[in-house]
């Protein structure tokens, strides 16, 4: 088992390397980070040339990638623009845990990302839990009543939920529950943010600010998950052992919950396990609309300014999390299913 984990981890290294190379090449060509540094006016030519040099953007792509990867403290850089590289570099490179500094805010990427991870996880995990809970209930119910009127109605509603663009649900729910409800004198929900700064970050505040984004995030995922659970349950229920159990005259409840659900659990757990690391990336659209200070918004803000260190930092973090969760999922799988042995 230990050797298997080690092997998988080693396999992950070239994978992350490929990802970093591809993304770096893409990011180098998405726009000029210096172009918008002048605020509302265009950056002056003198400042452009100076910033390019100071930020190391005048170097060839290969060199920039190398610096990003292993740092530049082993070489000298030209800081004052006299054409002579005379000062030692200060970057350590991502391999030594230095994700670099944001070109826009000059803050270390680890700090920027570190501030956002807890917020994003709070929102996303809540949405995931809500989603799974209701999806399980509904998925099982639909599977047991395949093609019944109720199943058809539920399926239709779920498909509608699944087919709605998230921003549409977000804006509409904000309009109804925050604006109209207030206008009508009903209890209403706050519009944007993670809490009201005037009150502070109290659990009640965060909870009330979470309701709408969690709701919007859950709607499409809920639909997708419950469809998946329905499908898995249907598949399991058509297996021979379930038929045998039924034929033996076991109570329906026992068949469903002991035989079918237990066997359907595995693919469901796998799907959830593989989805989990993506929660780290947050939700770009929802976080933007509800002004939630999460990773998705950080990503969007910085990708629109071509801020390579931050964008690369976020993407590599998520990619690494995916690799690790894949290994964990495999291990859990082996543990759940005694037929699988990794050697």
């Amino acid at each position: 088992m230990f050797r298997y984990i080690l092997k998988r981890l080693l396999q992950g290294i070239p994978l992350l390397f490929i990802i970093s190379l591809v993304l770096f090449l893409l990011m180098m060509n998405v726009g000029d980070p210096i172009a918008t540094m002048g605020g509302r006016t265009i950056t002056r030519p003198e400042d452009r040339e100076r910033l390019k040099r100071q930020l190391g953007l005048d170097k060839p792509i290969a060199v920039q990638y190398l610096y990003w990867l292993v740092g530049n403290d082993w070489t000298k850089v030209d800081v004052d623009g006299d054409g002579i590289a005379d000062k030692p570099g200060t970057r350590k490179g991502i391999l030594r845990g230095d994700f670099g500094k944001s070109l826009v805010t000059k803050k270390p990427v680890t700090e920027l990302v570190g501030e956002r991870i807890p917020n994003t996880l709070l929102l996303m995990v809540a949405a995931e839990v809500v989603t799974i809970f209701f999806a399980l209930l509904l998925g099982i119910y639909s599977a047991l009543r395949q093609y019944s009127t109720m199943d058809n109605i539920m399926t239709a509603l779920l498909f509608i939920a699944y087919s709605m663009p998230i921003f549409f649900v977000s804006l509409a729910s904000m309009y109804v529950f925050a604006i109209l409800f207030k206008r009508w004198g009903l209890p209403y929900l706050p519009t944007v943010g993670m809490f009201d700064p005037e009150v502070g970050k109290t659990p009640a505040q965060v909870l009330s600010h979470m309701v709408l984004p969690v709701f919007t995030l859950s709607v499409p995922y809920f639909a997708a998950y419950s469809r998946y659970i329905r499908g898995t349950m249907l598949e399991v229920m058509s297996q021979d052992y379930v038929r045998t159990a039924r034929a033996k005259g076991l109570p329906r409840r026992q068949v469903v919950y002991i035989h079918a659900l237990k066997n359907a659990a595995m693919p469901i757990v796998t799907v959830i396990g593989l989805d989990l690391p993506f929660l780290l990336g947050g939700a770009v659209v929802t976080e933007r609309i509800f002004a939630w200070p999460g990773m998705g918004r950080l990503f969007f803000d910085h990708v629109s300014r071509s801020d390579l260190p931050v964008v690369m930092g976020i993407l590599m973090l998520v990619a690494a999390a995916v690799v690790i969760f894949q290994i964990i999922t495999d291990i859990v799988y082996a543990w759940l299913d005694p037929r699988i042995r990794y050697n």
Binding site: V30, G31, D32, P33, A35, T36, M37, G39, R40, T41, I42, P45, E46, D47, Q54, L55, D80, K101, E115, R116, F134, L137, L138, Y141, M150, L157, L158, I160, A172, S173, V176, F177, I179, L180, F181, L186, Y188, L189, P190, T191, V192, M194, F195, D196, P197, E198, Q205, S208, H209, V211, F215, V219, F222, R253, I289, A291, P293, G294, S304, S306
Partner: protein
């Protein structure tokens, strides 16, 4: 048994349906999720604490990147600076300067500016101090200048400090700035100050200010408010500075919330979650007005304009003819666009200096909307539809030109209108839009503007260093090429008369003489149609009626923030 399960299941399913139905916006079924909101209405109300402490929440649609004045010239960073930092002089609601840290604004008359214009002397007030009680001295001015031009600091811009060659500090209250040549836009100096007593030790230790903690946590400032905290992505908090050397502020605390979406910002202001919003798009104005929110506009130098590319090498041949350029302007109905789409809140500016009446004198009037006149001009210039395809042509060249701008809703709307109105006079407009960091990519980066791809370029700009009238990117020396890949003249336009006047105005220390030069440039822009105004682009603020005493300046927006108050 069986029945029970299905009953429970169906109940749960019903509950889920209810949740799903809420997405459809059905208000009657929405009690369940809204119930939690009761907490927020009681605890989230601003009314209760207002009795003892006056707290105001403002919304910025963009978060500031850093607070250090050297490291960001972003609009939201600089407007926030009025809370906690200080300028040598501020500007009032008429955008006129008045002394703030200095006793008087230097001029030839008071001896502040030397005869040859190569030395400017500032006399500082003797009662000004940092929020930790340390006096603000000439050393802080010298330090701010030195740090800005220090190559070890990755500052956003060295302008205008790179024009100062030396600063002498004969005593703590006197700052003498030396220049190599007269520098007319000197008033754009000292828009923010950094504390030498805090940052000099940091610089001595690190060799740079880039990673100073003060940049994002400026605990020591010099404005009416002190910086208190900043939670990235959420809010920043400022509390009243009790060490302030002027009249103390009336509002005790200011929260700035960062809300990136326009519609969400409006929702928050309408819901009363915030008292002030900045950078309001015109499309949001009716909703805000309907909710009783005041809309205040303040000229800040910016005008949305069409910039004409006039270059034999890069432009469509028709663009070289001044009458054709004039025809393009006459064929577009700017006035109706402003009346309808911009809701009559702004007018068509005739001049690049529209918001500087002193320099827009005599005032330049925009060309009238006259499609028939435009057609006549085009006919006379030899551009006629000889092959009957609906587009004019000349010598076998079709009149097809490119118009590029950035992806802002109202810009795309203008493009669509212009495309159609030009089609009506037989000009085919191809429209393109780009993200701003792509639009402004340099010649070296293959940016669409600086490689000469766009015959018409649209963006909003102000004189450089407003309220100073300076400008630079029409200079012949700014034309980008392989040897000068950062060149900023995206019009590839070299007009020697214009070039000489632009260089002259930046050295004229006497405002009256400079005014004459700028007026000449103004007339050239108009007569030769190098630039055409589309709409005035003032700062648009949404102000809750609960805020009183509110005035804005286009340069230092919160110049009278200390007089603002909250009423019920």
């Amino acid at each position: 048994m069986k029945r029970n399960i299905s009953l429970i299941l169906s109940l749960l399913v019903m509950a889920t349906m209810l949740l799903a139905a809420c997405g459809g916006g059905s208000p009657t079924e929405a009690e369940a999720p809204a119930a939690e909101g009761t907490e927020s209405t009681s605890s989230g109300s601003t009314d209760a604490p207002a009795a003892e402490k006056k707290v105001a929440t403002f919304i910025w649609v963009q978060e500031f990147t850093t607070l250090n004045p050297l490291y960001s010239t972003g609009w939201f960073t600089s407007i926030t600076r009025q809370f906690w930092n200080c300028w040598a002089w501020q500007y009032d609601e008429n955008n006129e300067a008045y002394p703030y840290l200095v006793t008087e604004i230097p001029s030839f008359e008071n001896g502040g500016i030397s005869e040859d214009g190569l030395a400017i002397t500032l006399h500082l007030r003797d009662d000004i101090k940092w929020s930790d009680g340390e006096p603000i001295t000439s050393e802080d001015f010298r330090f701010t200048w030195a740090m800005t031009i220090d190559p070890s600091n990755v500052v956003s811009s060295t302008y205008p400090y790179d024009n100062v060659i030396d600063i002498e500090t004969p005593d703590p209250q006197t700052v003498v700035m030396k220049f190599e040549s007269p520098f007319a836009p000197w008033q754009s100096l000292w828009q923010g100050l950094i504390p030498a007593h805090i940052l000099q030790p940091v610089y001595d230790a690190d060799g740079t200010l880039d990673s100073a903690e003060w940049n994002n946590n400026p605990t020591v400032g010099c404005g009416p408010y002190n910086f208190a905290e900043w939670e990235s992505g959420s809010y920043a908090r400022f509390v009243r500075n009790d060490n302030f050397y002027n009249e103390p502020a009336k509002i005790d605390e200011i929260f700035i919330r960062f809300v990136p979406d326009d519609a969400s910002q409006t929702a928050a202001i309408v819901a009363g979650d915030a008292l002030l919003g900045a950078f309001i798009p015109y499309s949001e104005v009716p909703k805000l007005k309907e909710a009783g929110i005041n809309i205040m506009t303040q000229p800040s130098g910016f005008n949305e304009g069409l910039f004409f590319q006039v270059s034999e090498e890069h432009s469509h041949p028709a663009m070289l003819d001044v009458n054709v350029r004039k025809a393009i302007v006459m064929a577009i109905d700017f006035a109706s666009f402003n009346e309808d789409v911009n809701l009559g809140l702004v007018k068509t500016p005739g001049s690049f200096w529209d918001s500087l009446p002193f320099y827009n004198d005599p005032a330049v009037e925009p060309y009238p909307y006259d499609p028939d006149g435009a057609k006549a001009l085009l006919d006379a210039a030899g551009w006629v539809d000889s092959n009957g395809d609906g587009t004019r042509d000349k010598d076998g060249v079709e009149f097809v030109i490119q118009h590029g701008t950035t992806t802002r809703d109202v810009r795309q709307e203008f493009q669509a209108v212009a495309q159609q109105q030009l089609a009506e006079v037989g000009i085919k407009l191809e429209i393109l839009n780009f993200d701003s960091d792509i639009f402004w990519g340099t010649f070296a980066d293959n940016g669409p503007t600086y490689t000469g791809e766009l015959d018409l370029q649209e963006w909003s700009d102000s004189p450089y260093g407003f309220p100073d009238p300076d400008l630079y990117y029409w200079l012949c020396s700014e034309i980008p090429n392989a040897d000068y890949p950062s060149g900023s003249n995206s019009f590839f336009l070299c007009d020697e008369e214009l070039d000489a006047l632009i260089q002259l105005q930046s050295t004229q220390m006497d405002p009256a003489e400079r005014q004459k030069t700028i007026s000449q440039i103004n007339q050239i822009f108009h007569d030769k149609v190098y630039w055409a105004g589309i709409w005035q682009d003032p700062d648009v603020w949404a102000v809750s009626p609960r805020l009183t005493g509110v005035k804005f300046s286009g340069v230092t927006p919160f110049f009278n923030i200390t007089e603002w108050d909250i009423t019920e």
